[in-house]
Amino acid sequence: MRLPLATLLRLAWRNLWRNYRRTLIMLLAIAVGVWAMIAMSAFLRGMTDQMVRSGLNTLPGEVQIHQSNYRADPSVVNSMPPPDGDLLDALNQPPITAWTSRVRVPAMVSSEYDSRGVILLGVDPEGETAIGALPDTIVEGRFLSDADDRGVVLGQRLVERLDTAMGKRVVLMSQDPDNNVADRGARVVGIYRARLRSTEDTLVYAARNPTQSMLKLGSAVSEVAVIGGDYRHSESLVPPLAAAVTNMQLVQSWQQLDPYLGSMLKVQDGFTLIFMVVIFLALSFGLVNTLVMAVFERMREIGLMQALGMRPGLILLQVLIESVLLLSLGLIVGNVAAWLTIKPLESGIDISAVADGMEMMAMGTTLYPALDGRDMLTSTAIVVGLGILASLLPAWRAARLDPIRALAKT
């Protein structure tokens, strides 16, 4: 017995449109379900992406090298010499695309009215530019000009809290390695805004050289920050660096530096999958019902085919083809609709109306849904895979019809 696939397809197609209203309703349901799967995962992906990016922004640097004790005690004591020798070689070749070194210590900033505990970054502006770790936007003034710049750049919210302003002087204060107070006055040369307003409170940018001299560090730095390609795969940057550092140094990817942030991507993938399956389960009831009705209506011709000698497998296949056809149509409509409605939103949706609440979740005021081919593939796989599984029941019932009884229903 050969498989008359073309005829089965034609048969399934025509059967589908026999009750076109029911088919259209089911088609719509599948399309909406598929659209919801993709839209939902695009929003979820956009949200996580942003949370991770915002998180990376406050780190900043996808892979970082520290003195071994720095993470336990991020003070000047746990500094390290700037990269040289093997490490310098490793930093200057692929897969690493850029790196910089900086001083990063807890400090106090004071204006004439108030003082705040912050994290003082002593940076090389050129290096920070290269790894894309500059503040999001400079709203007033400028960023530091070079590693010798004596000014400071503060976050807008910190400026408000300190009641200071552009061009005014503030005092930076911390400890040197001998536990003596180290301080200097600096002029506010720039004010930045960050996607997360909490960042504006925390990070204070000063140039590396003045910061090193203030802290009596010589040329020592607190951390080396590295980037290379896709932030999702930063772990691959670690091994070559780990091989080049001394045993007093530690190389960590952002996933290790912030395990909570690191697990976010996996959690998101898991959620996406669960959501998709749940949406499909809701759909599957409609699908099974549609097929059961279709089989019930066509009992006589199914009985006829069996009486003529078509094996149950062929009947089963016929129902499955019909189901796959219906699912495929729904998938096409759903995917196209998702593409058309979500793609334009990728440039960002203003959610500032609800953004205060979102701040807690480390989100900005704009949501960027991320349409991902993988999500479209996953939803297609789920719909087709589980769809066939759900269709097996009605198909099985059709295949098991007793031809004599089915034909006797005149």
Binding site: R18, L304, G309
Partner: protein, 233 residues
Amino acid sequence: MSSIRCNDLCKTFEQGGETIVGLDHVSLSIEEGEFVCLSGPSGSGKTTLLNAMGGLDTPDSGRIQVGDAVLTDLSRGQLADMRLQNVGFVFQAYNLVPVLSARENVEFVMQVQGVDARQRSQRVQEVLAEVGLEGLESRLPAELSGGQQQRVAVARAIASKPKLVLADEPTANLDTRSAAQLMGLFVSLNQRGITFVIATHDSRVMGYARRLVKLQDGRMISDEAQEPTAMVV
């Protein structure tokens, strides 16, 4: 090849706690090329016997042999294959798949039978012409009259050149003229060697038969050869 041997067939049905006799020790032999009518009142067991001969149904006891195949020894799947390849069926109604055209209805079965594409389209034209349906090949069943639908069913039944055609009340839904045309078609096909067994209680049909088997309450009450009385139109 297409002789039919039925030995001592019994079949009962259970319905609502009652036992209904379908076949009661029926023994019957039909030789190749015969034109047999199974007649009898409603409920006498005509369909049950016909279904058993066609491998659609299995008796509770007894033995059926069609050609070399002992149907009572075959599995369900084997019976399906036997029906597909060796028996042409014409039923009372709902003989066709409603969404397939006349041509497609015939072709579908031939495809499943494994006839290759070139041979198939040629044969489909041939049999549809033979039953007098040229020009109506692409009509859907709903666009054909009852008689035309039955003739599509006959075309399908003879497409793979089976030696045996079983028909169950083929004229029940037809007017006199269409019934006569259909029977004329049966007679001419029978003259080319196809064995026909027709279950009917239509006296118009019995007139075409060369042998009349009468059933009552599942028992064979008579089996007589006769000269056909009906005129082939």
